[in-house]
Symmetry: C2
Subunit: 241 residues, 2 copies
DNA sequence: TAGTGGTCTAGACCACTGG
DNA sequence: CAGTGGTCTAGACCACTAC
């Protein structure tokens, strides 16, 4: 089990930072120094330092050197999948309504559309083991020639719906998470009493050019939704393979 | 404004993926092909492909080639800072209680400690412009010789407290987010009525070796807490500089 | 066996920061 | 000015995959 050179180096540097030998703001040895000290080429040293930077430990300042970063403590990786966030793994959904309607002022504001642009409204009930766990409303600016098949709507997630014409790779998405109490028409749908706690997740979809292509809200019965997020250094957004 | 070679290449490949010319599962041209096609060295081609991989567009399979990744749609970057998540930028806090107590069964479970290990309990009220917006309870396994100065507790975030002995770089942190209704002793503290919606964020801190070093819950008055998360390709967890 | 990505080298030139 | 990181090159060897 021989270790690769650049792995060895990055491990040693990482450990020094983790142990506090190198503290935020401290300068690392220069590329040339590391190159001589470890008897490896500068290219390989650079590969190690680049890895360390990817992991969030350091940053480089051209003309000066590499420095230990002040740890960023307020960014987490959040897991969220609208169809699979409750306990039930085999989540299904029930389509309540699909309509094309003139926009309300709220919709015009959220979707950034004029008042003569129609809006597709999709209302669903998310189910786990047959019981409702969330009420879901989505709004899409209406485009002619957008065939919406019921089966697609029933099982699709938001980006899949709004991004039918757009590659998923060029979509942006914002979430807002807050707590509310159930009131009005939502109560009978979710089969909860007035005032029951809900976790509300608003989603907004954008194209790469920041044009809004979808907006929606999901009202989860609190007991059936727990969001998880984690923070740690060196974490990656994408797995290998 | 001449563009760097590896930037040019990564831009072209990225665009092909975003436009759908290259779809998930498709194989990219090999390093040698790209090297010849663009008349740049293999090292530079590798730099571009490495960047593309970092951004989440592709992955590499040794002996086979580079492939377009199936987009990961369920991971977001969540912004959360316990002291600064409400509207008020100049958030302060009021210390309600600091105690060393024998652990309850709940604490023993959450902190993974035996019943003879004492626990430090810290209760705070988070304020924005003088008014309470959240109630905060933290539990730390008690260590002898851990001097807790009131001023520190008042303004410290959780990792700063629990990680006094540990470098922030070797701490892991999990969040759980859910909705609940206010009840019991929390109501008068937060000055809300019974049943008022709350956003509850549970935090658990671990060392690099997965030993629990802290656990806590923050009860935000729903109106004063909106969490934000975002998803898009190519996003980075750490800024440059 | 031919082709692929993965590791590593030595060396060149550049722009930038600091004294 | 000497030192730093940033870009780019040409070439070597390896392990793996697929045929």
């Amino acid at each position: 089990m021989k270790e690769l050179l650049y792995i060895q180096l990055v491990d040693q540097l990482r450990k020094k930072i983790q142990l506090g030998v190198l503290k935020p703001g401290d300068m690392l040895p220069s590329e040339n120094e590391l190159s001589q000290e470890y008897q490896i080429s500068r290219v390989t040293v650079r590969k190690s330092l680049s890895l360390l930077e990817q992991e969030g430990y350091t940053y480089s300042a051209p003309g000066k050197g590499y420095f230990v970063r002040e740890p960023v403590t307020d960014k987490y990786i959040l897991n969220f999948n609208e169809m699979n966030n409750a306990g039930g793994s085999a989540a299904s959904s029930k389509l309540l309504e699909v309509n094309v309607v003139p926009p309300s002022t709220k919709m015009m504001y959220e979707l950034q559309i004029p008042d003569d642009r129609y809006v597709i409204v999709i209302k669903r009930l998310l189910l786990a083991e047959g019981a409702p766990i969330a009420y879901d409303v989505k709004y899409l600016p209406y485009n002619r020639g957008l065939p919406l098949v019921e089966r697609e709507i029933k099982y699709a997630t938001f980006p899949e719906l709004a991004g039918k014409k757009t590659s998923l790779f060029s979509i942006k998405k914002d979430l807002k998470i807050c707590a509310k109490n159930a009131s009005g028409g939502v109560c009978p749908l979710l089969n909860v009493e007035e005032g029951h706690p809900l976790l509300v997740i608003s989603q907004k979809l954008y194209t790469a050019e920041n044009k809004v292509i979808g907006w929606g809200e999901i009202y989860y019965i609190a007991e059936f939704c727990e969001l998880n997020a984690m923070w740690s250094f060196g974490q990656r957004l994408y797995d290998n393979g």
